[in-house]
Amino acid sequence: MKADSQELPLETMDLQMGPSHPATHGTIKFNLKLEGEKVLECDVEVGFLHRGFDKSCEQVTWTQVIPYTDRLNYASSLINNVGYALAVEKLIGVETPPRCQYIRVIISELARIFDHLTCCGMAASELGAITVGFYMIEARELVMRIIESLTGARLTVTYVRIGGVKHDLLQGFAEWVSQTFKTVRKLLNDCDRLLSRNRIFIDRMSNVGTISQETAVTYCLTGPILRATGVNYDVRKAYPYLVYDQLDFNVPLGSRGDNYDRFVCRIQEIEQSMRIVDQALQKIPVGPVWIDDPRFVLPEKEKVYNSIEGLMHHFKIIMEGVQVPPGETYFAVEGGNGELGFYTVSDGGGKPYRIRVRPPCFIAMGAFHEMIKGYMVADIVPTFGMVNMIGGECDR
């Protein structure tokens, strides 16, 4: 360097952030190349929570996979259950009764509210808005209590079965939900008043982690990240499943594709999900929640103990598993983070031949370096928060 030069020498620094960093809720490692505090390159290392989901699924029966799907995106495990059950039902070629479909829509949307509240609350509290974090966790707790009383578990619910759901909705479910939604709306209103004109929050979120529409599409992003760039792709609208085509809801879209738009998209989706649940609870018909087919549905205990057919069906399903005809299907549902697809291959036995999950946040992490390039190290925190990487789903 020349002695008369006024500029300081530039030196790049390698920094390894993670795998267990307090600001990244999840085990993930960023290998950063920094110039001062500016991120020049970011290499994302995932896989710290890999536990062989696909391989494990090949060892058990079709029904026993359902608890494994709980552990994918554990913030919205009900959606995973629903997606998996729908994929297997498509492979078998059966359709569940209307009441079951409505119940599945209701629980999917409750899980989506839960997922978005977790994501937004955590992201806000990481930026110092800890009050908002607490308010959203409180709202989440109220939703979680509904899920808990319905399914018996808080996170690992295992509520959906192939050909139905575990049991019908509880007595007084609709009133409880509408009471809860009143409180959730009030809490979200408080959060809005705390955040929407908050200088610190907007400075940290707005124009940070920006990604253009073309980049989002070429990186195969889905969910709120894609919709924040203005692309109108929601699996519930594009490829309607269950009874979504009979319900009235909007898909919130952003325009700039930055973290703030992602945040707003998620918050607005909570409102839309509450609308869907309200409508579904009004329209829900009475009827059975299981398909009427003893090949796929466990018989009632009374039949198991008192009739030979019941005992036989019970034995067959438990010991050999549901018999799924050979074939392959891909079925996608709109998960909390985007298109959650299940590609299932059967060779005609009681066990799956291959189950592949299309994990939305794994694919989103593939575009993370593009989102963070040129921003500061501190911007990783809100950007990572809004991607909402869930280790269980990303690493499987």
Partner: protein, 187 residues
């Protein structure tokens, strides 16, 4: 599976010899493609004004060990963003030459997905910019989603690997040593 959809007929007509078979199963369009000229086929899917399958949804593979020949199948899911039918593309890949053209020039998101297929199945991709393991670690032996990989196989223990540029604090180690010496223990 004798029925066919308009999209499948159109693809069969345009791509001709590269299409090995077309299927319609449970309402899904499935095309079985030859791996020769695979990227050009996908460029056609992406840019053709009638199909406009411009969104790559997923890449995965299936191992049909002792069931089918060729052994592997790489499976792609594409869809049109403006709305329309999805398409599934299956590409048979033999075991002794498990190589496919990479789709990263068309969709950058194929990067992570192809790395995962390489990691778990050992199918490599030509022209991939950075084909490393992704879910597993570098020292892992074998590709676990192959059907001939036993589910309970133990992997050898990996020695600690010195990473270049990592700051190692020697003082803490010395402290432990001093503590042990003070307690009269041997190392």
């Amino acid at each position: 599976m004798s029925e066919s959809s308009a999209n499948l007929e159109y693809i069969q007509e345009k791509l001709g010899g590269r299409v090995l078979d077309t299927l319609l199963f449970r309402g899904d369009d499935i095309v079985i493609l030859d791996r020769a000229g695979l990227r050009e086929s996908f460029r056609f899917f992406k840019e053709d004004s009638k199909l406009r399958l411009d969104f790559l949804s997923d890449i995965t593979a299936v191992d049909y060990w002792k069931k089918k020949e060729p052994r592997f199948e790489v499976v792609y899911q594409v869809l049109p963003l403006r709305g329309g039918r999805r398409l599934r593309v299956r590409v048979p890949v033999p075991e002794d030459d498990a190589v496919v053209e990479s789709l990263t020039p068309l969709w950058k998101g194929a990067n992570f997905l192809e790395r995962e297929v390489w990691d778990l199945f050992g199918i490599s991709f030509i022209d991939h910019p950075d084909l490393r393991r992704i879910l597993l670690y570098e020292e892992f032996r074998g590709h676990p989603l192959r059907k001939d990989y036993p589910v309970n196989l133990w992997q050898p223990r990996v020695p600690e690997r010195p990473v270049e540029g990592t700051f190692v604090d020697e003082r803490s180690r010395n402290k432990l040593l001093m503590l042990k010496q003070a307690l009269g223990q041997k190392n």
